[in-house]
Symmetry: D2
Subunit: 460 residues, 4 copies
């Protein structure tokens, strides 16, 4: 779910069908063999997801929803329209013969595909779409939602089975955009010195105490999704890897721990940084995580709740891979590989990837984890739903990787260069969206996601 993946591409050309139709392998993601019981679940999931976008946007003004702080981010209004365009384009137009779009021009305005001629300017200019208005976009959503529900209720079992994967993909696609709605808005509002507050502030966190380590035995392990429920193509197939023994930190790094790195001169010591990271730091004049600023010796952070004093016990977020890597080097540690991370997450899955595993505090900043009982054996905490944890693994294909069939084939595979994997989900990830096998990916300088650090090291 990099900055780029919210740009789905659905060209209608021959190349798109090269990998063969994989719908059949996805057909029972929603247990569609047990239709029609699944039909109701799908409708409910669709409606709940669509409503969640509206709920998030509710406190925002039409002007707030226009903001585009940089080319990598999109206005909230655009997210609302683009996720709607997805269902219109891939379900309604092909399936509903009499369907008429409220405005045929939306097909271009809200299609994120940008590799074809003449339209590349649009991505960085999404903030210039004052028209259609927010009201028109909301009407577009309502129109498409009504048509979708009507179709979902009335489609034949065969038609529904044929499209169930695309509907599920559309829901997951919208969930990805919901996370971007949070992070893009936060970024875009950060330029306003009036520091608008659109969410509740995080209460003061408790000191989690010194960092402890959890050991894991290596050897043969299984990595990746088993394909029995919905998952993205890049999580598949499940396959064997071999791990050395390793250790993970029991929890992510806190703001206070990162502050020590700053105060120890971590941003001024080239030997802690990879070469590209040092160049980035120098040329961009980076001295602290994104949104941190110092005033009269005191540190503050820009948040969705306005400008607040830095809480040393809260979980660190908004660091780049370069900063995460330098911090780990400073600690004589390293980042985990994604295989180590997933292996450890599987072993502890019951603790944090249940249906309630994700906190509902999306509008908070990442919490800390509070005092830890050090008489207990250390165990992993906050693996899910707090911050995306940078790994040392570059984003690449699993052995036997097959892109989604058809137009969905560009969803993930085309980004397999120059990006690093993040794991775990953040406070902005919608509940139920992520899982232990989920692979997020961003470029090493990217910082506007809720990205943090969990340290790893070799076994002693």
């Amino acid at each position: 779910m990099s900055a780029s993946t919210h740009s789905l591409s659905w060209p209608a050309n021959a190349a798109a069908n090269r990998q063969g139709n994989v719908l059949s392998q996805h057909i029972n993601h929603y247990g569609l063999s047990q239709l029609p019981s699944c039909r109701d679940a799908l409708i409910e999931h669709f409606q709940r997801t669509r409503q969640y976008s509206i709920d998030f946007s509710e406190p925002l003004t039409p002007e707030d929803q226009m903001l585009q702080g940089m080319a990598d981010t999109s206005p909230n209004k655009w997210h609302l329209a683009h996720t709607t365009w997805f269902f219109e384009t891939f379900i309604l137009k092909p399936q509903v013969a009499e369907y008429q779009s409220p405005d045929e021009r939306y097909a271009f305005l809200f299609n994120s595909y940008y590799n074809r001629v003449g339209k590349q300017h649009m991505r960085s200019k999404r903030g210039l779409l004052s028209r259609p208005s927010l009201d028109q976009v909301l009407a577009y959503r309502a129109f498409v939602d009504a048509a979708m529900v009507q179709w979902l209720e009335n489609a034949s079992d065969e038609a529904l089975a044929e499209c169930a994967f695309l509907v599920a993909l559309g829901i997951n696609h919208e969930e990805q955009h919901q996370e971007l709605m949070v992070t893009d808005l936060k970024y875009s509002l950060s330029f306003n010195l009036m520091a608008p507050a659109v969410a509740r502030p995080l209460p003061a966190q408790q000191d989690p105490g010194v960092l402890r380590w959890v050991p894991f035995a290596g050897g043969k392990a299984e990595l990746g999704h088993n394909s029995e429920t919905f998952a993205f193509d890049n999580e598949q197939p499940r396959h064997t890897v071999w791990l050395q023994n390793y250790q993970l930190a029991e929890r992510p790094i806190t703001n206070g721990e990162f502050l020590e790195f700053i105060e120890d001169g971590g941003y001024s010591e080239p030997l802690l940084w990879v070469a590209d990271g040092w160049f980035w730091r120098q040329s961009k004049k980076i001295h602290a995580p994104l949104y941190w600023e110092q005033e009269d010796g005191q540190w503050f952070r820009h948040t969705l709740a306005g400008r607040v004093a830095l809480d040393p016990h809260a979980t660190l977020s908004h660091v780049s891979w370069f900063e995460a890597s330098a911090f780990a080097q400073w600690q004589n540690a390293r980042l985990a590989t994604e295989a180590e991370w997933e292996h450890a997450a599987q072993l502890s899955q019951d603790d944090f990837f249940g249906s309630n595993g994700f906190s509902n505090n999306r509008f908070y900043e990442p919490q800390g984890c509070g005092p830890i009982d050090h008489s207990q054996t250390p165990r992993l905490r906050q693996m899910a739903g707090h911050v995306w944890e940078w790994t040392s693994s570059a984003y690449s294909a699993y052995p036997g990787f097959k892109p989604f069939a058809g137009n969905a084939g560009e969803y993930n595979g085309k980004f397999m260069a120059n990006q690093f994997i993040l794991r775990g989900g953040s406070c902005a990830t919608p509940p139920g969206h992520a899982r232990a096998t989920y692979r997020n990916f961003f470029y090493p300088p990217d910082r506007w996601q809720y990205s943090g650090i969990r340290l790893a090291k070799d076994a002693v």
Copy 2:
């Protein structure tokens, strides 16, 4: 009135008082020696000007008023607030002891000064000010207007005399921003493929016939403003120049005439272009004036009335100095010097710089001038209020130039490098704002103003 001059700078430092107080020389711009009669005129001018900004903005949505198409342009809402900030900062705060701003943070948000540390990001990020909302900005305007009128009505004659120049400057400053409100909006809307129409289209224009030339005798001439009424510092002092004999085209170039240049390969012939212009053309891939686009062999233009077919008889606008210069070269002609232009304008002034000299068709594109009676002696037409006419003169100080005293000193002088003079005013210039001595200036690649071409050549 370059892109930069709407960025007034009012630092309170010693250097600002170097040139001595020039208020005395401006004190009777509004006939302030005849107070209080002048007081009413000033109030009326203030109110009329302030209302004109509101009238322009009325058809625009809050989202439209957020748009910032490039760093050189500003959102309409920002223009509305910045012009208000001017009166608050330079009249109300110094003059009205009990004055309280509705929000002290506006003092920073709407100050355009950008040479001081740490705030340079703001200019290109004005489009990210979703807060304050448009409603709050309009309330800010109403609050300041009420306070201004109250002060104007009740100030002592002495206080009024002392501030009359700054009030007049604030009015002229707002008029400059009114022109930018038109051109910035036009530019920012141009990225929206829905081509919103916020103004009436220009009716089909009549063919003006072949271009004729008007001869002028050179010799000793007077250039510049006589300082008896309001004028900017850069128009002064009036001084002697020497001109050779010359000729000016009776009217500006039309779209159709420029189309001939395109069709003759003018954009592909390096010998027609100055070196920097050719580099600009190549690197920016320029093939036509701004807002022109060709589709299926037909030419269209983006306008405030949406996308319209190119009218060959309408006056050409939105060309850079580079394009104007190349066109003139292609015609074996040249651009006029600003001295030639002003000299000719003075001789013909009655025809076009009277109180009705400026057309009221601000929301139109520049008109053409219709069929010309060729049995008559040619005379200059459309010198005022149609398009700004690029001259061959680089923007520099007149002999004896003195910047405005105090904080207004940065208004014009600091831009005297790398820019060219334009003369005459455009269809977007507010009525009564420009005059024959008025010096506008932009960089040679700039095109988002209503800038056109009037040819000149040496006497035969």
Copy 3:
């Protein structure tokens, strides 16, 4: 051996000693426990390596040796001086009390360290060092060589044992620069339309026939160097990995096969490219491998033997990772992981990594492999010493990776972001330098090395 690794960094600071002294683990790379027999071998290896640089430079004029075609490349004269500076700085100055440099300023001019303040301009300005002259640099080499041999002959066994690793590192460092001397010169000469020839042309190659595949069984495998002889830190430690079954192409791709990709529109089809690769191709207007140019429908290549017609049977070189990846996609294949490549190389090692495994045709372009007997079971060919083969593996640390101790710690680890691994060595790699575990790495757009393509795919 990326463009950056020829920039050794040897800061004298505390951080450099963090990893502890690893000299002890390297002390017997040259069998130093069997001194003094090893002493002679070391002297011979030192002298042979030093002479090899001179031999390469011999046909070049002083002006040729000044050329720096881009910041990533260095002039030949600079390579000659920098490799000399290495021995002076790390052996002679610490070990020989009475050693006096011919010119103390060389310590700065030829130190490639660039992370410290104020000297960053130097890297891209190496081509501006007209002084010292080539003669002076050659005298510097002779002076240092004499001092080194004298020291190597007379040092105590203890002193030699202590420094043996650094001497070996210096020799390997010079071998890396020898490869860069070839590729940097080729690049820098390519701008001269006179197409100077400084090497013999490659004779016409024979058609190798259709590409066949060699299957390999996966499972548990060992990867990395066993540390018993000299190897770079990034090749170590040897560790276990798990592989799926896979296939490798028996030989690298030829020019002719890549030409089919071009003629099939491969450079115009975005779906074949990763997103960053497509952006690279578009913005750099890439239409063919580096050094290829088309004239009147005929393809030519710039080589060290001048401009020659493209030989369709010769091995392809000078493609970026982006091009390699797109080509593989077009073939419904993929690039090998570095683990697959090394696993396959180990199984076939006798064939190509023997002492004579590397061809001596350094001054040729990469050869093809000639007609293959298709009655035979396919086997891997040209794995070593032809072209560096791009893998799909991003450059990262092996599990348990420990950087070299002391100043050598920056040699490799700091480049572990944004680069891809290449394997096998090229026609420009000095004989004996590379091995099956050797990890080369470059950025995905880099093309000035002899980089080519060997396809891989999953087992059927």
Copy 4:
């Protein structure tokens, strides 16, 4: 003679003949009506000029003559070849039927024309022409010189008359390149920390005392060249201007006077700078004139005689127009217009534009003018041959300007945008080359010429 004008362009196309043949108006520049006496003078001038280039180059190594410090500068070897190519291309090839170039490829390599397709990379890559070698270039010069002298001696009077202007232009063209040979070499050597000395150092200068002013009466004045001897097209025609009364400083600013500006914080005060200048200063981190550097509180300068301590009494050089303008502002003065400068120079011409007016200390830095007798009426000093003096006048066409006919038409006119006029000639200008009407021009940030400051102000 901007950085760009040493790039002559001689396309053979129709447009080149638009302005009609002006050879007739130049035919008697060398008194060709009095042939053959003039023939000998022309030969002598040709030979002397050609030798002067060789003399300058003599102390430089082949490697020195390869240096190209930035795209605006060219290697000395390229200057030697390009000036030769001029005579070959415009005299020998058209006039001498049997002429054969030593190498036809030189016609491309040493043609500076860069507006035609496919060859634009060459300008910034001139430093990569290791071949042809310096020896080959010197042989090329000798070959062309011999052919030229043979032709000059034997051409018919008619042929000579027809070509005399082009021969004179070629001589003046080479003189312009001679100045660039000095300034380009100085710039390119400045990157070498070994600070090579290729010229004698300037002896300590004497304190000229406080700056005095020389008043001039305005009114009607004549500006420009009378066309009776050789002059460039941009100096013509002579025409009338009108001047206000003004004053000029008696001498240029010294290093010591500029140091006061630095120490008074001149580089940190935005109000002293034009807007573009302040942006330039900020983005380029400019804190002092080019070649100045401070070490332990002491100022040093890079010169052709190596690195030397700053002499406060020597004339300031290597400042940009931006710095000159800010300095003048700081002094409550201004730069002269070019009309004021030329008017003053005409009145004082006998003093400094005689045959010995230019100093022969080309290899020195600009001298100071020593103690001035303050009992005397102040008069202008050092107007010629010390430093090019920035004026406030943008480079533009004189009224009635006609470019040279034919291929020489691109020589000057195409640069008439964004550049400022400099007057007077510098210590690097060849003796006899400049004159009171001579117009040099560079971009406002350019600093690698010997450019300095003479202040002006309005009459009291």
